[in-house]
Symmetry: C2
């Protein structure tokens, strides 16, 4: 078994529909959503029933496939119009993860190229391309895992932030995929799981995944990471990314910057695992990456509709990501190999190599 | 009105009893505990119905006064024995805040000195001394507030960690007392309130206090502080301390170290407000300060008996404090004035001055 149970997101040919694990319900319940419109896929992304940059990319791909498969129009030209509308809606769901834009662009290119062949070919081409994005993601994560596992030694304690596992991708995971690979290689690992406020992706999702894989772990509050780093108990930090700028600056889940600072203060390496589709060469540095600010209720209540933990009427700020400057990052782990500083050069080289293939 | 409503902790002569706000119930309910035995005071400290280094000191003082007032013995020698037992129990409640030990030592000295005068004198001396510790605390906090307010400018946005207000002291507060003083001076202030996982002293207690004082504020997750610092939105950091070592290293609520790192990375000053009773000259540096590790359930559930936010059977680590090295601290604000680096010298000087008075 590669994944958690099944893939985080998949195409249901019988619907047609998009099927995904509802991550808002984990770990209390393992439930699946069957979505029959691209609008409901957009809602699932916005409300974080699905999250994680690679999974969001796949969801956008399947969302556009669904728009095509469910369209009642008989004209390729009309379908193109419908697809650009759907793309607009999907693009507006979450601003930071660049995989969303990457997948939408890839889908629209296929739509454009297949228009001349008629609407049925176009429909099939879009479903095929979405499936290809999903399949490639699993393969890419396996390669990331294999490259990154060399950074993990037998007996290591690792701090992991947010969720970067099977649930953050189509399957297997990025940073957590590296940890899984090391575990599969027989290395004894202990993971300190940052709970990752406010949405608790660490406590809810990563702890749940590590349970499935049999990897020993303990949950910590995000603000306790520094304590364990300071005491010399931590060998390395593993995180994912929602967008990597051309200079190697990383937009990732809120708290990554403070974690990286604490790691650097204690000479502990910070590894960021992400597919090339997360690297945005059009964005020069982290300052240019748009940071989503989400609803204050995520901070004020524990989980949406949950228990209020602050006085009635309290206000909150809720930035969902922060920027970790490239000076704090030891290496990027991609499917094209390990990228090391200076990142502007190693990133450029990785894409040059990729373009040639 | 100086305080929140009444003092956080006070002596009830009719009991005799110790009366305190139950901080486990805030902000949902404002309820008071009336404790009639030193054992129940010890439980209140351990379970954090009362918390904050100065408040814990006062509670230990009142706890010993209660042991004396409630004792049925007729012999001063027996009372001394009972007091040493009570002191042992109170000392064992929480290891990090040195004010606990400081207050117990102060009470035992009074007990020892008054023994020759007979048991009734001894009883009264202990009640008087506990009351004096409480009264002095309010006066000390006012002086800390006055000294520290000069660091706050009109229009400042301040990040505050944990709770250091009236609720963490007998009344008025240390770091929050400085913020209150600046507010009373007419300065326009905005506070970003670190929620302070796991026990949420920021979201539950500091937000509640700031509400009472009419000081504008927004709650943030602890891991979001770096984001606001990085964007240049923050003028200063204000924290308290549970113990300050002779070299200026600070043991404070978990997360202070990471917050101080993020402040330093962005050239934002870090101010620590604490009474001299929090400075432990017998402890050379932070490494020697004992750090309490509390029950994992505080991390795994939101509030005790609250909502589980992690898979069943999950493990957690829960260090309650961390050490902020003195290199990250801009100044200590004490009732004896502002102490600046090198802290070993300024601390030594402050106590020399104090000893002379």
């Amino acid at each position: 078994m590669c994944g958690v149970i099944v893939r985080t997101i998949s195409w249901d040919t019988h619907g047609p529909a998009v099927r995904m694990i509802d991550q808002q319900r984990l770990p209390t319940a393992v439930e699946f959503l069957t979505l029959e419109t691209y609008e409901s896929v957009a809602t699932a992304i916005r409300e974080m029933s699905i999250r994680g940059a690679p999974a969001i990319g796949a969801a956008a791909g399947f969302g556009l496939a669904l728009a095509a498969a469910r369209s009642s129009t008989g004209s390729a030209q009309d379908l193109w119009q419908e697809l650009t509308t759907a793309a607009e809606v999907l693009r507006g769901t979450r601003p930071t993860a660049v995989n969303l834009l990457w997948a939408i662009n890839r889908m629209l290119k296929v739509a454009e190229a297949s228009m001349v062949s008629g609407i049925e070919t176009m429909r099939q081409a879009l479903v095929d391309e979405a499936q290809r994005i999903a399949d490639e993601d699993v393969e890419i994560n396996r390669r990331i895992g294999a490259y990154g596992a060399s950074f993990i030694k037998n007996g290591d304690t690792i701090i992991h932030h947010c969720n970067t596992g099977a649930l953050a991708t189509v399957d297997f995971g990025t940073a957590l995929g590296v940890i899984r690979t090391a575990h599969e290689d027989g290395k004894r690992i202990h993971v300190l799981v940052d709970e990752t406020r406010p949405r608790l992706q660490g406590a809810r999702l990563t702890a749940w995944e590590l349970d499935q894989y049999g990897i020993p772990h303990e949950i910590i509050t995000d603000n306790a990471a520094g304590y364990f780093l300071q005491r010399g108990e931590v060998a390395s930090i593993f995180v994912g990314a929602d967008r990597v700028a051309a200079n190697g600056d990383i937009a990732n889940k809120i708290g990554t910057y403070m974690l990286a600072l604490a790691a650097n203060d204690n000479d502990v390496p910070v590894y960021c695992a992400a597919p090339l589709s997360t690297i945005d060469r059009k964005t020069a540095s982290g300052e240019a990456i748009p940071i989503e600010e989400r609803d204050p209720s995520e901070v004020l209540d524990i989980q949406r509709g949950g228990m209020p933990i602050s006085p009635q009427g309290s206000k909150a700020r809720n930035p969902a990501f922060d920027i970790t400057p490239h000076r704090l990052v030891t290496a990027l782990i991609t499917e094209a190999g390990i990228l090391e500083p200076p990142f502007d050069q190693s990133i450029s080289h990785a894409f040059h190599h990729e373009d040639e293939e």
